[in-house]
Symmetry: C2
Subunit: 214 residues, 2 copies
């Protein structure tokens, strides 16, 4: 399955950040919804920090603007209840998602990307674990069908090529006009926010797939 | 019907601003959706300006942050197409909604509030008219079942009591934790954004109405 592009199926680019609360919801939901909608998911982990910096924010808007933050945590509670997801408010927010994002960037076209992303999100938002710690990420990688040992993968993620891959991906997020996460790109259309996931999937079937594209 | 509270039905507080693009969508949609959901609408026009000022913004975030603005206008196009609403991007954004909000504040418990609010929104977002102009508002009031002449209503809206009513309502918006529009308050729960209107209406039936409350 590695690198398989789902010939003939439309693709949704799924842009997410491991520290982002609403990204948690979409990471947990997207694989099943996309399968039901017959849409391929292109996982696109990136860093919100540089995007926020370019907008003049040096922290999460949920921290900078307290009313937005209070609303978000309550809203997240309601939504987790609706979706049947566990939620334990992280004792640190936003957590450092850098290492997880580098690892995910390396594996984004491989079969383990979905399960890895869900494990990291659950560690952060359901189990209040420090996803910035190498030991935690190593533990979350255990048992996944990796192309190498977890140790080798973690090492590769922190080598210049691994760092550069995530940097380029984050730059592309800015170029696409992203300003938050999760975001979805379908046939050149941008959708922002977990509550637009269904809309984005529906849009994938609204435009015809170019003949022969794979 | 004037002042009727719909005995036994739950109520949704609908907080909107005439200059707000996503408020346009909810103003056009809420009456039919609330009727179908058997929920009473308490119209709550207010001013976003003072709310944004309290967050440190001296303009709409859609102007301050260009990627957010570009996204919003495209998103609005898609949503207007979905809802069957006309859209003509206002040549000035945000428009001055002060006079319209003062008039609406005076009439918020009267039968003409829904139709008046829709007319103002269509003038702003479908016909690109200057809703800050007294002549435009006077024209939009024509034919509504007003308690007085349009001229008398406009005069009352700009007297100290009229100004104070809107000022108090906007202060209450801040106290409720609002940070944007449209917002909905149902049984103490806050919902933000046009795409949460359906959720807010559903929530109204989730909590029991207090016995005898009317």
């Amino acid at each position: 399955m590695s690198g398989e592009t789902g010939v003939g199926r439309p693709t949704i680019e799924f842009w997410y950040e491991f520290a982002s609360s609403y990204s948690y919801l979409s990471v947990m939901r997207i694989e099943a919804l996309a399968a039901a909608a017959e849409v391929e998911v292109a996982w696109r982990p990136f860093l919100l920090g540089p995007v926020f910096m370019s907008l003049g924010w040096n922290d999460s808007p949920f921290n900078i603007y307290p009313p937005k933050g209070r609303y978000m945590w309550r809203d997240l509670e309601r939504l987790c209840e609706r979706y049947g997801l566990r939620l334990k408010r992280p004792s640190l927010f936003p957590r450092n998602g850098l290492l997880a994002a580098r690892v995910a960037c390396l594996g984004q076209d491989q079969t383990w990307i979905g399960e890895f992303s869900r494990r990291v999100m659950q560690a952060n938002f359901a189990d209040d674990r420090d996803i910035g710690a190498e030991q935690v990420i190593a533990e979350l990688l255990a048992g996944l069908p990796l192309p190498a040992t977890a140790g080798a993968l973690l090492a590769a993620a922190c080598e210049p090529d691994g760092k550069e891959a995530l940097r380029r991906q984050t730059e592309r997020a800015c170029q696409l006009g992203l300003f938050g996460a999760p975001s979805f790109v379908v046939a050149g259309e941008l959708f922002w926010g977990n509550d637009r996931l269904e809309d984005a999937l529906a849009w994938a079937h609204r435009v015809p797939t170019a003949p022969g594209s794979a």
